[in-house]
């Protein structure tokens, strides 16, 4: 799966649709290691949906799946999310 690594910039459109605001500049804190990163900088793996991983400890931060009308989010790996730059 390493070859399919992207980063949060690639899901800017999907995140904007789900959250209703620009999210690549939002700061997320990893529930695993406590590192804080802007979502544009986190790793993204593309499969049936998208998996966002911490660039420091590789822990899963979030999972996103959409069918075009509905969206499913699993945000267990984010301790907090700060919106706004």
């Amino acid at each position: 799966m390493e070859a399919l690594t992207l980063d949060g910039n690639a899901v800017a459109g999907l995140l904007l649709e789900v959250f209703g605001t620009e999210m690549t500049t939002a700061h997320g804190v990893c529930a695993g290691c406590g590192a804080s990163d802007q979502l544009g900088a986190v790793r993204v793996y593309r499969a049936a949906g998208y998996v966002l991983r911490c660039p420091h400890c590789e822990a899963v931060l979030a999972k996103l799946v959409t069918d075009g009308e509905r969206a499913w989010l699993d945000l267990r790996g984010l301790r907090s999310l700060q919106l706004g730059d």
Binding site: L4, N9, A10, G13, E17, E22, G40, E69
Partner: protein, 246 residues
């Protein structure tokens, strides 16, 4: 039920191909005319949606290559062999064809003139695309913030925007190339992979903002080399390119 869908806040707009430019043997620029385009910032993306006759849809995210200019949006697309979208965009699509785009999106990998300079841009392969949008915006705005581009490509024929970059040099902009696989006769540029030793020569000591874009291993190597040279990680913005399923 109607009205319950959470998605759809972003509008899909119809984009019509006004022109196609061949950049290299595997890279094309699509000049799109997008009605109602709100303008964009250098470094932002669009999502492109193609719909097949049977209704099958494929979406991809592409960096915008052009500076904001009315209803014109330019996308530079590299052919990914076995890809789903890029073979159509680079080999089939032509003037008058339509597609859907939404955006602009993204705020992380974006040139903000308020940050000042000097600015360092490091691009690998088609990672030059959003960096070119930044240089075009800088030129269009008459911005004299000192900027330096280090562009890594396999060979001289793989260098995208070659003539435009040559014409842009000067006025506070330095352009350096490194060709990693083959070099033309009499080549005086660099001919090695981008590492700490090369960045020590090329990067300004007091970089206010560095933008690094390219394939994932390239971006990781450049970003960590910059940090090892003492550059503040908080000033480095990265964008990793596919393979995205192309």
């Amino acid at each position: 039920m109607e009205g319950t869908a959470v998605l759809g806040r972003l509008t899909w707009r119809v984009a019509e191909i006004a022109d196609v430019r061949t950049e290299t043997p595997t890279v094309k620029t699509l000049v799109l005319d997008v009605g109602g385009w709100p303008g964009h910032r250098a470094g932002q993306h669009v999502d492109v949606r193609l719909t097949a006759e049977d209704g099958y849809q494929a979406e991809r995210s592409y960096s915008i290559a052009s500076a904001s200019d009315g209803s014109v949006v330019e996308l530079t697309v590299e052919l990914v062999e076995d890809g789903e979208v890029s073979p159509y965009l680079t080999e089939v699509a032509g003037r008058g064809d339509q597609m859907e785009i939404r955006g602009p999106v993204g705020g992380y990998f974006v040139w903000d003139p308020r940050v000042g300079g000097p600015v360092l841009l490091v691009g690998g392969g088609s990672g030059i695309v959003p960096l070119m949008a930044m240089l075009r915006q800088r030129a269009a705005a008459g911005d004299d913030v000192p900027a330096r581009l280090l562009y890594s490509a396999r060979a001289w024929d793989d260098v995208i925007y070659r003539e435009e970059l040559e014409a842009m040099r000067g006025g506070g902009l330095d352009v350096a190339y490194t060709l990693t696989r083959s070099q033309p006769d009499g080549w005086t540029g660099y001919s090695r992979r981008v590492d700490a030793e090369l960045l020590r020569k090329v990067a300004q000591p007091d970089v206010a903002r560095a933008f690094v874009c390219g394939p994932t291993p390239f971006v990781e190597a450049v970003a960590s080399a910059l940090v090892s040279l003492g550059h503040d990680p908080g000033r480095i913005r990265t964008e990793r390119f596919g393979p995205t399923g192309g």
